[in-house]
Amino acid sequence: MKTLTKMTCAAAFGLAAAFSGPAMAADWPDQDVTYIIPFNPGGESDVTARMQEPFFAKITGKKFMFDYIVGAGGAAGWSQINSLPADGSTIMGVNTPHIFLQPQGGNVGYETDDINVVYIYQITPFALIVPADSPIETLEDYIAKAKAQPGAITVGGTGTNSAPNVAQVAFDAAAGITTTYIPFSGTSAVSAALLGNQVQAQWGFTTVGVNQGDEVRMLAVAMDERHPLFPDVPTFKEKGIDLVDGARRGVIVPADTPEETRQQMSDVFAEINRDPEMQKMMEEAGYVLLNVPYSEMDAYLAGLSENYEHVAELLGLNQ
């Protein structure tokens, strides 16, 4: 009896494999794709994923179905990724530097190596921002002030050991200054604190410059070249500080997802990014498109990992 059940099972699996195997190899996606966002709806991760949706539909004829697993700064979702269906039906958004720093701070339910990134589609460059009426006019002013009174400048950002915190320690180390970092629980809390002059500056992203417009002044952006939306804002590089970084967003899959499917996913996301309309939309919102395909992912992540190893030391992690 038992063997019979086993045999039936085996036969059923065999059949299923026979049917699903070639179908999957032929094309991804063969069904609507569940796209899990590990952050709150309405956040930047959600907004950018939703921007991709119409282009995904145009290219593949299938839809994204959005789902949210929120908590612990993304870790709630990433710790579950490898228990989700690995047939290409489920993908999840991912962010750096989060996946490098979180596992070093304690047991968050995953290790960096558990995360399988198939594509990185965007970077939101760091920016150092002051209120429009701030006496700090330039990056030089900021550095001079911090040098004159070490620790007296208060600079807000979201969370501890988070992307803005990384920007703060990396910049302070490069510029040889000391500032006081004030963590806030979310983007709106820190933006309100900046506009209300509760903190003197904010470590944020180019998107803050778009959302808060004339109310704020960006001192510099962490890009190789100036952002097309802000031609008057210098890069840190121009000012002699080697800071080119930001929060990257990409897509991950459960560990058992077939290599072929991953490659196809990578191709689809590359095609989404090639659409001029998509490029315009992202640029106007302050993002910068980035294209790291699956074939180059290992080398790219290794480079990042090395960089964040150094930042983790500055943050006092990993001791």
């Binding site: 309405g42 959005f66 047991n107 007296a152 501890t160 209300g196 808060q212 417009g213």
Partner: protein, 507 residues
């Protein structure tokens, strides 16, 4: 302006307003389904609409859901959304003694008033109020949270020690997870499921609903008292209008508090209604009745929580900073529509903004007929249903609702264990409200405190940050007043008594 009123009144926009309000009310009434989640789920459906129609739909759901939270709060003692926590304090006692219909009607009228009030403020006073909101920094948030926590003292009169212990337990629950400030892992016991902390809604459902269910199981009496001769709908409505008319000051004060707190980007709806409740109780002639089924408590909580909706749109539209979590999603949806948010929104997209504000106003007014109609049947349904059907029904809803939040079974376990602990504690004479205040206000107080300390430390003057800012001083005065007022009242009460006994003795 008339153009915008007219474009808000197009048949399509009217239809969307009514559908979204009804949907919102239903979603809000189910514990676990929050306004934030509902808006997130429904946002994609609005992408094909015109931006103003999309805004009206999303805002209608938001307004309806915040109001709908009162049903579960009044009828099963479970806040459907965190914003209706304070509604349970008096709503459930009223329902228990057979005044559920009246309580729902009062909540409906107060909600509509609070909503309309806040939308009118949004229309007329947005830019200056947005500036006021920005003047609230970390120290002000800290003191606001302390002001809310001071409510523990007045809610647990005669049981102060148990009240304070309860609040500490709530704070302890709020500590769990990785700290926003400092990033330390607190009380996670190396369990990944605890890294994100205890979700507020999960805690609310567990703390409020499970003790009710366990009481229903262990006691013989019926869930809600049903009046022998139910009053007609008109009589009930008349009584509710009468009560509201006698609560005019409370109504306006609570709606104002709600609108202002809603405009504070780091505060949220729960704290608005709690503060309004606390002020209503302090200013009432009969503070001892609050918490035992006093209609004024419902008026305060409901006028304030719907006030936060209009208030939350103030920084959202003026500054591009979402006032509450649902506002953040609505902002995101606007960006997908290609509407550039931020300071230029009023100038660049005035037509969309004003049509939206009038649409929101209409949606809020539509809550009145919707609420009165739903309220009539909801109370009868819950009151007349067999206990054997009600208990599994509530349990099913709580478990599904909890699971729906993050699709996490760990949340369900957390909800059930918190609920069981809460039930045992109520048997030992503890009240639930102080625990909940700790859970909800603890994080705001903690973050405000540490941020203020860091800012003060950087400036080399920590006391000045806590005690030297005008708004902070104002809030501190309110805290001291709130704590000393009961002492003064009992002192005043005692005095005539003693003089009488003296004169008696003289006779």
């Amino acid at each position: 302006m008339l153009d915008f009123v007219l474009s808000a009144l197009t048949p399509l926009n009217l239809f969307l307003a009514i559908v979204s309000v009804v949907a919102g009310v239903v979603i809000g009434a189910i514990p676990g389904l929050t306004a934030t989640m509902a808006i997130a789920v429904l946002t994609p459906f609005t992408f094909t609409m015109a931006p103003e129609a999309a805004l009206i739909t999303l805002a209608g759901i938001y307004m309806g859901a915040i109001y709908g939270g009162c049903f579960a709060a009044i009828l099963v003692n479970t806040p459907g959304t965190p914003s209706s926590i304070a509604t349970t304090f008096d709503g459930f006692p009223m329902a228990k003694r057979g005044q559920g219909q009246l309580a729902v009607n009062i909540a409906t009228l107060a909600s509509v008033f609070g909503g309309v009030f806040s939308v009118i403020v949004l229309l007329l006073l947005s830019p200056p109020l947005a500036r006021v909101a920005l003047a609230f920094g970390p120290p002000e948030y800290f003191w606001l949270a302390v002001l809310g926590l001071a409510l523990v003292a007045s809610l647990s009169e005669g049981q102060l020690l148990k009240g304070l212990l309860g609040a500490c337990l709530g704070l302890l629950v709020a500590f769990v997870g990785s700290a926003v400030i400092g990033g330390d892992m607190r009380f996670t016991f190396d369990q990944p499921a605890l890294v994100g902390g205890v979700n507020v809604v999960v805690a609310l459902i567990g703390l409020f609903c499970i003790p009710v269910v366990l009481d229903l199981i262990t006691r013989r009496d019926h869930h809600l008292h049903v009046p022998e001769e139910p009053a007609s709908a008109r009589e009930e409505l008349g009584a509710a209008v009468g009560i509201l008319a006698s609560q005019k000051v409370n109504l306006v004060r609570s709606a104002s508090i709600g609108t202002l707190v809603g405009a504070l980007p780091a505060a949220g709806g729960a704290i608005g209604s709690l503060l309004a409740y606390s002020e209503a109780r302090r200013n009432a002639r009969n503070p001892e009745d609050y918490g035992k089924g006093e209609p004024g408590g419902i008026v305060a909580s409901e006028a304030a929580n719907n006030g936060t909706v209009g208030g939350g749109f103030i920084p959202t539209l003026v500054l591009g900073i979402p006032g509450t979590p649902p506002d953040a999603i609505i902002l995101g949806a606007l960006m997908v529509h290609g509407v550039r948010i931020g300071p230029n929104l009023f100038a660049e997209h005035g037509d969309i903004v004003y049509t939206f504000i009038f649409g929101l106003l209409i949606a809020t007014i539509l809550m009145l007929p919707v609420g009165l109609l739903v309220g009539r049947y909801a109370f009868r349904l819950i009151a007349n249903i067999q206990k054997t059907a009600l208990i599994p029904g509530i349990l099913l809803m709580t478990i599904l609702g909890t699971y729906a939040i993050h699709a996490s079974f760990a949340d369900v376990l957390m909800m059930l264990s918190l609920g069981f602990v809460a039930w045992v504690l109520t048997k030992a004479g503890f009240a639930i409200a102080p625990i909940v205040l700790g859970v909800v206000l603890g994080p705001i107080a903690e973050q405000g405190f540490v941020q203020s300390w860091l800012i003060g430390n950087a400036a080399g003057n920590i006391p000045a940050v806590f005690f030297g800012r005008p708004i902070s001083i104002g809030i501190i005065v309110l805290i001291v007043l709130g704590l000393l007022w009961p002492v003064y009242l009992s002192f005043k009460k005692r005095k005539p008594n003693t003089s009488r006994s003296v004169s008696n003795a003289a006779l």
